[in-house]
């Protein structure tokens, strides 16, 4: 018995279909992207010129904190889970995710978690104001009461991530069509498999660290309190043991996405498939032994500084392998630059800039200068915005015709790209300069000599924000109509998802396809 989607709202509330759930994840993520974006624009508006003009410093702190939390946990992570939901079953020839009901549970936890997190803005004492890294004792002894709600929100979104990851592992290891051996899997599937392992390994550690905070706050334990024999630095170790793998959780699936897109528009197979798999695994492994590069200035023993410095630099090797492979794939290809390809090429170039600033930061003695300045902000925005966000955008343009059966408007897509590209570089490139010159991060005011660059950054940010409205408009227009897409959509794209009709039927592969 083949059943189509149910009618009305119940389709979304009670669904067990990977495509429905993927769609909900993606829309949820986009909503969070806009919310986090509004917070960012409040920050940039305040920093448009020196002095305090728009918001109170206390509120400014809440904005930096909520911006980081909402973007990391609400926008980037759910977007990749949404893509995984839509694509992994189609790419490996499975009818759905391995555990469809748990799949819907993973999703529906998120709106509740983020409603709770966002509601802290209205609470007495305000929202969390201690930065997205919530260092103790700012987040314990000196925290607003809303921290308790923050802690529980993190707990349940962690549960959601863990269940999502388990589902993805079970799907990939257990549901592949006959003939789909591991080394035939599309790279997006590979990178997600490895990401899922990272998630299962570190989300519980995040749960652990917020639990320790909860105990210190409400039950007078001494994890992070030197007076009782604990240590605030312990917080940083546990947090970054989660935190560094977390940044790779946000970038590995992005590697997967561009590894799918570049071959299509270069019209050449991906260069070095196997080395891509090994590089991804090495990055994942190394990501567990570099966490203290976020803590060079906290006063670690010298042996620790050296170990974490060299281990961090090692990551540049597998990362370099990947960049090399993408470029070699494009080399002498017959390239065309449709919107997804534009975003992917920009990804390769700009992500590499972020990698380079990462290498600079990895040099411990130099980091004493750079730490907690805008240089760090520039670094991680270069890896996250043209990295994670661009890859998600590229993925949406690339697979949207498969999802809804219509072609998006190419002119609008390209306009979106150029606005976003120019906007983000205007925003984040000057941050390198003000950072190197010593402008501290997370401060609502700054010295006069930083004024020009900050004004440029703020204008860039509003341009980038406007670009996203165009994106939203383009996506909605595509869903509602437009030129019909063919089943292949692009010219000879690689992968099982292009063998099914566009739009992809509600249930694909009720009989496993044969993979040669």
């Amino acid at each position: 018995m083949a059943h189509g989607p149910a009618k009305g709202i119940s389709r979304w509330l009670f669904t067990t279909n990977h495509k429905d759930i993927g769609t909900m994840y993606l829309w949820f993520s986009f909503a969070m992207f806009l919310l986090g974006g509004v917070f960012a624009l409040v920050i940039r508006a305040e920093l448009f010129e020196p002095g305090l003009q728009i918001v109170e410093p206390a509120f400014f702190n809440q904005m930096t904190t909520m911006h980081g939390l909402v973007m990391v946990f609400g926008a980037v992570m759910p977007a990749f889970v949404g893509l995984a939901n839509w694509l992994i079953p189609m790419m490996i020839g499975a009818p759905d995710m391995a555990l469809p009901r748990m799949n819907n549970w993973s999703f529906w936890i998120l709106p509740f978690a983020f409603a709770m997190l966002a509601s802290t803005l209205l609470m007495e004492g305000g929202a969390p104001n201690f930065g997205w890294t919530f260092y103790a004792p700012l987040s314990t002894t000196y925290a607003p009461p809303s921290v308790t709600f923050f802690i529980f929100a993190v707990h349940i979104m962690g549960a959601s991530s863990i269940m999502g990851a388990i589902n993805i592992i079970a799907t990939i290891l257990n549901m592949r069509a006959p003939g789909m051996t591991l080394m035939k899997m599309p790279l997006f599937v590979w990178t997600w498999l490895i990401t899922a392992y990272l998630l299962i390994a570190v989300m519980p550690v995040l749960a652990g660290v917020v639990t320790m905070m909860l105990m210190d706050i409400h039950f007078n334990t001494s994890f992070f309190d030197a007076a009782g024999g604990g240590d605030p630095v312990l917080f940083q170790h546990v947090f970054w043991f989660f935190g560094h793998p977390e940044v790779y959780i946000m970038i590995l699936p992005a590697f997967g996405v561009v590894s799918q897109i570049i071959p299509t528009f270069a019209r050449k197979p991906l260069f070095g498939y196997a080395s891509m798999v090994y590089a991804t695994s090495s990055i994942a492994f190394l990501s567990f032994i570099v966490w203290a590069h976020h803590m060079f200035t906290v006063g670690m023993p010298v042996a620790g500084e050296l170990f974490f410095m060299y281990a961090t630099m090692l990551i540049a090797v597998p990362t370099g392998v990947k960049v090399f492979n993408w470029i070699t794939t494009m080399f002498r290809g017959s390239m065309t630059f449709e919107t997804p390809m534009l975003f992917s090429v920009a990804f390769v170039i700009l992500f590499t800039i972020g990698g380079f600033s990462g290498l600079m930061l990895a040099i411990a003695p130099a980091d004493f200068q750079y730490h907690d300045t805008y240089f760090v902000v520039a670094h991680f925005h270069y890896v996250l915005v043209p990295g994670a966000i661009f890859s998600i955008t590229a993925a949406v343009y690339y697979w949207l015709p498969k999802w809804c059966g219509n072609m998006y408007n190419e002119t609008m897509g390209k306009t979106h790209f150029w606005m976003a590209f120019i906007g983000l570089n205007l925003t984040f490139f000057p941050m390198h300069f003000v950072g190197l010159a010593g402008m501290p991060r997370r401060i609502p005011d700054y010295a006069l000599q930083f004024a020009d660059f900050n004004m440029i950054a703020s204008m860039g940010a509003f341009l980038f924000g406007a670009a996203q409205i165009l994106f939203l408009f383009n996506v909605i227009a595509t869903i509602r109509g437009g030129k019909k897409a063919t089943d292949e959509v692009w010219e000879n794209p690689e992968g099982l998802e292009w063998t099914v009709p566009s739009p992809a039927p509600y249930h694909t592969f009720s009989v496993p396809p044969e993979v040669k």
Binding site: M1, H3, A6, S10, L13, F14, T16, A94, P95, D96, A98, L99, P100, R101, N103, N104, W105, W108, F112, A113, M116, T148, F149, F152, H155, I156, A159, A165, I166, A170, L173, N174, M175, I200, A201, M203, P204, V205, A207, G208, M212, M215, F219, N220, T221, S222, F223, A226, A227, G228, G229, G230, D231, L234, V238, G299, H507, S510, V511, P512
Partner: protein, 305 residues
Amino acid sequence: MSSEGSYYVPAQSKLPIFASLGLFLTVFGAANWLNGNDTGPTILFCGGLLFAFVLWQWFSAVITENLQGMNSDQLKRSYVWGMGWFIFSEVMFFAAFFGALFYIRNFAIPWLGGEGDKGIANEFLWQGFEATWPLMTTPDMAVNGDAAKVLGPEQSMSFGTVDSIWSWLPFWNTMVLMTSSVTVHMAHSALKNANRKGFNIWLGITVALGFIFLVLQVEEYMEAYLHMGLTLESGAYGTTFFMLTGFHGAHVTLGTFMLLVMFLRSVIKGHFKHEDCFGFEAASWYWHFVDVVWVGLFIFVYVLG
């Protein structure tokens, strides 16, 4: 529920959304309670009840589907993977707390006591504090000249002397848990040999042992709180001791409950066949995991404590 081709594709389900609602209300109530809002306990209670009810429905649905033969081998493998990686995530949760213990003992406390470059804080902030473990006099107490609130090192939970081992609770706790790991294995073997009676007996013994462990643990906590003055609030030792053993105890409680449910399913409903007993196996893996964590606790918290 319908099967598409040879695959498992369940129909719509109301379970996930209500599970999310229940989970949300539970934590929302807990947060309100901790922040001193009067409505907290009520919300927590209602949320917890809803959550428990949904989980009950959910597990019943899965069991019913399995009994009706709707679960393919593939789906069963997915359940196995799911449980396996869930346990791994639990391992990582404990790893965070073991890591905290390691850091506090080997770095934080020696530094506070004046060791190495970072020991300078001792001179400026924590004069008179000495690094010891178990930590009985915290830096704060040392500075204020308060006597240790706990009754002294010989009163910690750690291993004392060899002849006192028989009166040392953790020793008995270890015995009880180790035995229970064996008995749950015996139950499994009995089931594999289609020996229902043996299965019920061994499983019943395992549940009883789990229960005994919990009683002993409560006994130990009462001792600590009422006689020794060792509490969550008595500094890093009390913190790590209670958090590690406490989370372990919570997991034992859950594990015992899971095994109890399996026991009742077998005794009352005659569930589980020798080739189809995933529910029981999952519970028994969980039990072994809880056991392994205990071994870690025994070594790092009690013996080397």
